[in-house]
Assembly symmetry: C2
Homo-oligomer: 442 residues x 2
C-alpha cells in the first residue's frame, strides 16, 4: 500500500479506532449521565474565542500555551479550559441565567505544550460548576464528592479515593507566619510533603525565618492523618486562633457530615492536608481523586471552591465550586496501563445475513423488527459467500449472526449464531427480536 | 451592571442558553441514536489537522475559507467538514479497519465565511458514511433514506420529503450532448430549473450549439415528475442509449424497491430529477431533504455516492455513500421560524426543598432515592424563604417541588407540588420515587 501524504494526526491530537472510541464514549456518557442526575444543565461554548477575552485573567503565561491566530479581523484563540469560557458565558448571559447556576460542559480544549504521556494538545475536559451570587452555601461543596463518587463507582476502574482539603487551613495558618516571602516559601515547602517527606519539609522550614514553634505547628499540621472525624479533631487541637483557619475546619466538618448522611463509603474519601494545590485559584475546599491501585496516574478529577468566577468580565461577586475530569488523559492512561482492555467490539448487536440475494427482503424485515427493540443491527449488504460474511461479523465483534436462507424462510425458524461460543439456536421468526434483546440484556 | 470587556462570542460562533442547549442536545441525541441503530460506529477525529492534508483535494478555493495558523512548527487548520478527515482517517488506519466501514461522526467544523442567517463559522455536522473497497453495493444507497426517514420522523418537525436522484442520469444524458463546453453550459441550465422554470431552461439550452432533438430530450428529462415507479418508467421511455444513464435508472429502481420493502411511507420520498447538485463530488445517488412546510429552509440533510473517498491520500479504490445534517444551521433556523419553541425548561425533574436547615438530612435521602430511579433531581441548597425557593424552581422550569418540613417528616407524608398546575399532593415517603417517576414518564 502506498500513501501519498503523511496522514498521521499532529502530535498530541489523539484519535481512536472505532472499538476504542466506543469505550471512550461509554465513559463520557457515564460522566454526562451522573452530572445530569445531580441537576447540572448542559452548556456549550465556542471552541474559538476572542484572544483578549480568554487571556483577560491569566495573561502572559497562558499566551505561550494557546493556539492564537488572526482571521476576518478577529484576534482569535482556541480555549485552554472550560472555566474561563464559563466565566465569560455567565457574564454575557447574566440577566438570562437562574442562580445558583449549575452547568456541566464536556468538550475539547487546547494546549500548545509539548505533548507527552497523558498530556495532549487537544483533549476533553468534563466540568461541572455551581455558581451563585454573593454567597454560595457550603452544602454545594458537599455535593461534589457525591458526584465524583457516583462517576468512578460506575466507571468501575477499581478502588479510588477522593482527597479533600480546604485552602483556608493553610492560608489561615500562614497568616501567622510572618512576611509574604516567608509565607510563599513555607507553602512551597509544605507542597513538597509527598515528594520529600516530613524530614525534608522540616529542613526547608528551618532554613526560613520562622520561630521554632511555628515550624513545629506547620509540621504537625501537615502530618495530621486519620479518619475524617479524627483529622477534624486534631485540627481543632492545633489551637490556631486565626478565623480563616477556623472557617476551614468548620467547612471541612460540614462536608464530612453531609457525606456521611448520604452514605458515601468511608473508604472512598479522606481529608488530606497535603493538598496545597491551586495556590492562585482556589480559595476554599479543594478536591483531588486518585485510583488507589494506580498512584502513578495522579489525580483523575480535581477542583475546588473559588471566590469570584468572573471578576475580569463583570462587576458581580460570583463564587463557585466545581471539578474537572480530563477524560482524554484518563482514557489514554487507563488504556496504556491495561485497565481498559479494548478488543474487537461494536455497538451493533446482530448481523442479519441473507444467504442468497433473494432472501434480502425477509432479512430487512427481520432487521427492522430488531431495530424496533432499540437494538443496533446491520443487514449484510455484500453479495459474498457465507464465510466472508461471518469473517466480517467476527472481525467487527458483532455478537449474533442471524441466517436468512430459503430453508429458514420456508420453515419460519431462523438460525442464530452466537459468535463467541459458536452455538447455533433455531428461533421462530416472531421471537427473534425478543430473543436478541434478552441475549443482549444478559 | 457594568461589563469590563466585550463578552459576546465572535460573530458566527453561536452559543445557546441552557434551555436551548437542552433542545439542541435532544436533537443531537436522536440523530446519534438512529445512526447507531443502523449499525454505524462512533468516530472522532481532531478538530485541528495539518493544513496540507485538509487542503490536499480541494486546494486553493477552500484555503480562503479555513482558519489556518502556525504553531510549534506545524502548519495547522481547523477542519471545514467531516468527509476530508474521514478520508484521512481511513487512509491512516486502513489496516485496522473492517470494510465495509460504517461510521458516524458528530462534531464541530469551521468555515471562514461571512456569517449570515443559518450560516455559521463554527457549526455541528452529523455525518454517516459507508465505505467499502473496490465496490459498494447499491443496497447501501438504499439504506440512507431509511436513516433519514427515521431521524426526521422522530424529530417531528412536520412533513418532510427526501428527494433522491442519480448523477449518472444527467451525466449519461450529457455524454451525447457534444463538446465539454456545451455539456457544462447545459448542466448549468438544468441546475436552474427551480429558479427559472422550464421555459427559462429552454431559452438557455437553445442558445447552445445543440440539436433540436437534444434540447427536447433534456427538457423532457428535467420535466419528468410523478410517483417513483412512474418516474422510472418515463426515464426508460426516453430511450437514452448511454450505458451510464441506464445504470442510473437501474440504481434508482433498486433504491425505490428497497424503500418499499422497508415500508418507508410513500409521501416521505420522491425521485426528483431537478437535483443536479454536487457536480464535482458525487458520482451516483444524491439525496436532499426538505421540510414541506418550510421550503425557505432549503435542504436539511444532503449527501450522496462518491466513487473514491481518499484518492488524495492512498492508492486504494474506496467508494462510499453518506449524508450530512448541518445541525447548528437546522436548529437555529427552526428556532427562528418558531418551529422549535424554547421555554423555561431543565433536565431536572424535581426540586427537594428543606423547609428548615434541620430538614436537609431527610431532603438528601429523598433526593438520593429519586436519583436512584434515574431521575435528575436537585436539593435546594440555599437557606432562604420558601417563596425564593419556589421562584427558583419556577424560573428554571423544574416540574415538581417536594417540601420537606417538620410536619412532613413527622407524618411521613410529603407534599409534592406540580409547578405547572399548582396542585399539591400528599405522598408517603416510600412512594415518592415511584410517584415522581410515574409523573415524569407521563
Amino acid at each position: 500500500m502506498s500513501k501519498k501524504l503523511n496522514t498521521e494526526t499532529i502530535s498530541g491530537f489523539p484519535e481512536w479506532l472505532p472499538e476504542e472510541q466506543i469505550v471512550f464514549n461509554e465513559m463520557l456518557d457515564t460522566i454526562r449521565r451522573v452530572y445530569e442526575l445531580y441537576g447540572f444543565e448542559p452548556l456549550e461554548t465556542p471552541v474559538i474565542e476572542r484572544a483578549n477575552v480568554l487571556l483577560a485573567k491569566t495573561g502572559g503565561e497562558t499566551e505561550k500555551e494557546i493556539f492564537r491566530f488572526e482571521k476576518s479581523g478577529y484576534d482569535m484563540a482556541t480555549r485552554f479550559d472550560l472555566t474561563v469560557p464559563l466565566a465569560r458565558y455567565v457574564s454575557e448571559h447574566y440577566d438570562d441565567l437562574t442562580f445558583p447556576f449549575r452547568r456541566y460542559q464536556i468538550g475539547k480544549v487546547y494546549r500548545g505544550e509539548k505533548p507527552q504521556r497523558g498530556r495532549f494538545r487537544e483533549f476533553y475536559q468534563c466540568d461541572i460548576d455551581i455558581i451563585d451570587e454573593n454567597g454560595l452555601a457550603i452544602e454545594n461543596d458537599a455535593e461534589i464528592p457525591c458526584v465524583i463518587y457516583d462517576i468512578f463507582n460506575q466507571l468501575d476502574f477499581g478502588k479510588f479515593i477522593i482527597r479533600i482539603s480546604n485552602r483556608k487551613l493553610v492560608s489561615g495558618l500562614m497568616s501567622s507566619v510572618g512576611d509574604e516571602q516567608a509565607t510563599t516559601e513555607a507553602m512551597r515547602a509544605l507542597d513538597k510533603i509527598e515528594k520529600i517527606g516530613k524530614d525534608g519539609v522540616r529542613e526547608r522550614l528551618e532554613e526560613l525565618d520562622l520561630s521554632q514553634g511555628m515550624v513545629q505547628k506547620l509540621l504537625d499540621f501537615v502530618s495530621i492523618d486519620g479518619k475524617p472525624q479524627e483529622v477534624i479533631a486534631k485540627l481543632k487541637e492545633l489551637e490556631v486562633k486565626d478565623s480563616e483557619f477556623q472557617e476551614g475546619v468548620s467547612e471541612l466538618g460540614q462536608i464530612v457530615k453531609w457525606l456521611q448522611v448520604r452514605d458515601i463509603p468511608k473508604e472512598a474519601y479522606k481529608i488530606d492536608l497535603s493538598i496545597v494545590r491551586g495556590l492562585d485559584y482556589y480559595t476554599g475546599t479543594v478536591y483531588e481523586t486518585n485510583l488507589v491501585e494506580y498512584p502513578d496516574i495522579g489525580s483523575i478529577c480535581s477542583g475546588g471552591r473559588y471566590d469570584n468566577l468572573a471578576s475580569q468580565y463583570i462587576d458581580r461577586n460570583l463564587p463557585g465550586v466545581g471539578i474537572s475530569i480530563g477524560l482524554t488523559r484518563l482514557f489514554s492512561l487507563l488504556k496504556d496501563e491495561g485497565i481498559i482492555e479494548v478488543g474487537a467490539s461494536t455497538l451493533t448487536k446482530a448481523l442479519v445475513l441473507p444467504v442468497d440475494p433473494d432472501n434480502r427482503e425477509v432479512a430487512l424485515k427481520i432487521s427492522d423488527s430488531i431495530q424496533d427493540q432499540g437494538i443496533p443491527v446491520e443487514v449484510y449488504n455484500k453479495d459474498e459467500d457465507l464465510r466472508s460474511a461471518l469473517e466480517y461479523g467476527n472481525k467487527k465483534g458483532i455478537p449474533y449472526v442471524i441466517f436468512v436462507g430459503d430453508d429458514e424462510i420456508e420453515s419460519g425458524e431462523f438460525t442464530v449464531k452466537d459468535m463467541k461460543t459458536g452455538d447455533q439456536t433455531s428461533i421462530p421468526r416472531d421471537n427473534l427480536p425478543t430473543y436478541i434483546k434478552e441475549k443482549v440484556d444478559e
